[in-house]
């Protein structure tokens, strides 16, 4: 038994000393990096979510589907003010459709038909949706310039877009969010 305690003490000291010599470990569950999952763009080209790019400016990721009314409502509402948002904050909106093969053919006609200026990707078997832990859509994320998730929200109601752009403004200026 003595022997056992001895080993435990030894190991603990040993372990602790390993850290004493190095810089303290930063919070291991800090901001989450965007997972890299394969998606398809509207030209059927494979694209990894890890390659989303907005030159160090904020990114909005919005999960939607052609059969989801509040999602289309959200994206149409933002489309009206998207030019202003881009000029002001440099933000880019990436719309991820979770339509499966039943309705994925409708995505491009709808996104174009509605005159949306977003980057649109297809997540036909919900791989990215799973990796981002999305349960219900619409589900919207805001990423900072390092492509770390700083904010997210489920559901859309008229006026929610104002909270969203507020968050984006703060992120663009590098201000801390209340949730951080």
């Amino acid at each position: 038994m003595k022997y056992l305690i001895g080993i435990i003490v030894f190991v603990t000291v040993f372990w602790a000393s390993a850290y004493a010599q190095n810089e303290p470990v930063t919070n291991p569950v800090g901001l989450k990096k965007l997972p890299a999952v394969e998606l398809k763009n509207l030209d059927n080209k494979t694209f990894s979510s890890g390659d989303f790019f907005n030159d160090g400016k904020p990114i909005i990721i919005s999960f939607w589907a052609t059969w989801c009314k509040p999602c289309i409502n959200e994206l149409t509402t933002i489309a009206d003010v998207y030019d202003d948002w881009q000029t002001e904050t440099g933000v880019k909106l990436i719309a991820i459709s979770i339509d499966d093969s039943k309705t994925s053919g409708n995505v491009s006609p709808l996104a174009n038909g509605k005159n949306w200026d977003y980057e649109v990707y297809l997540d036909v078997n919900s791989d990215f949706k799973r990796a981002m832990n999305v349960n219900l859509i619409p589900h919207t994320f805001v990423l900072n310039g390092n492509k770390e998730i700083v904010w997210q929200h489920t559901s859309f109601s008229q006026g929610s877009e104002l909270e969203l752009i507020d968050i984006v403004r703060k992120v663009a200026k590098g201000e801390k969010l209340p949730s951080e």
């Binding site: 000393s17 989450k32 059927n44 080209k45 499966d100 709808l110 078997n125 799973r130 489920t154």
Partner: protein
Amino acid sequence: MKFKNTRLLLFSILFLFSFTRVNAQGVEKFLKNSQISGNFQFDGMYYIDDSAIGAPDVPQKVLMNAFANVNYTNGPFSAGFRFENYLYALQGYDPRYKGIGIPYRYISFEKDKFTITVGNSYDQFGSGLVYRAWQDASLGFDNSLDGVNIRVNPWKGITIKGVWGKQRFYFEHGPGVVRGGDAEFSINDIFSQLNNKQLRVSIGGSFVSKFQEADDPVYKLPKNVASYGGRGTISYKNFIVNGEYVHKINDPSTINNRIYKPGNATFIQLTYAQKGLGLYLAAIRTDNMSFKSDRDAEGNDLNINYIPSMAKQTTYSLPAIYTYGTQPKGEFGLQAQGIYTFKKKTKLGGKYGTSFSITYSRYNAIHKKQIDENTPIDSTGTLGYKSDYFKIGKDVYYENFNFEFSKKVNKVFKFMVDYFYIMYNSKVIEGHEIPNIHSHTFVVDMTFNINDKHSIRTELQHMYAKQGEGSWAYGMVEYTIAPKWFFSVSDQYNYGNSITEKRLHYYSVATAFAIGSTRIALNYGRQRAGILCVGGVCRYVPAANGLTLSITSSF
């Protein structure tokens, strides 16, 4: 002996730690790269006796479904599991979802162009006609494959996948083993000189085989059943054409009444899209293409493949009463859709733009003919029937015409007007011996923004129908305080039912609170019995009355 083992264990720990001591930097990096994320959902319902709407008796009074996903990632390594809980499952979910368990768990890592996953995986080959493992919690559908999933990108533009395992079956596994492979070649990515060409081509092929023991005393049943197919996509400027053809060898099953006819399916889509205009045309023909890892499985159990439905999906509650469910024995469906947005600041476009869309979809039976004079169609143990590929069956299963007009008038007011014509063959889709239902529905959907945060939305719907449950009226008022609060009151009234006692009100009151990624919703009221469909898979939901609490969150 016991002590010796403990000592051995401790020495191993010591060894490990001394290793990390040397690699303290590595430990730090390891912890920095560690990420845990997940989500949670809870749905609980308190049931109130309501014999008027035909709500079944619920002896437990309260029922609940809940699950939590937890994922851990560290660079190329990831692992996770889903904890599921049904004590007991909500009405409308299969009662075999019972108890508590971890039916989904996996470990995955990426190395040298390989991604290897062991445990449960979701995946899809092409449009899913030969293989699709997927999940939808709201449907209670999950056919994840428990086994091995390997994906390799040996060259830019080439993706090869392999799967091997058993399908999840509630808290167990199905009896059959599923093995398959798929390859996709994106021609423009393979040959660098074609990278920036406007004409883009990709082709693919897949093969899936299932194995199941067979010891039928009468019939010689195939133990191995293979299904395979090829596909291609061509895009040029604003056009995309995409097609897939698949074949399945003879596979006598409960679904096809144990006939030995091989199956096949064809799916073609044509898309044209430019700013302000989108056109879509699709056709699907399936013939005996139900593919399950257990030949005796029924309903949505143990599906290996996925047959997409071409019927327009709507979220408006009255037209959604008549939602098409795909017919596993065979069907011919098509859909045409056009969507157009008038330019802003033109006479028709107005300041904020105006858009409309037209959709038409239709499902027919496939052509079927007796194999010979003496054998009726679908006779067990025979080839079943003959089908002329280019002839369409006379029976119409479903028809839908939808026109939608939407306009934002000013910052305060926007509206949408919808018209739906739906022809629904209840005999084929639901097995009810009633005449085909022809329904006409008008929807007016209006939103008023009181100020930046407060808004009111109303939905008025009216469905006219002589057959089935007759005519319905629906009204709903929604009040939202963005971004957190939501309140709604609605009533669905079956005033035109030919049976006077069934002229019932289905009232409902709901509220929800959303903060960040958490949403809590409370709903009180009646739900009508019906079919709930998501993505071509449907489940029957019995009538219910009661109080529902839903909580969803992710972290």
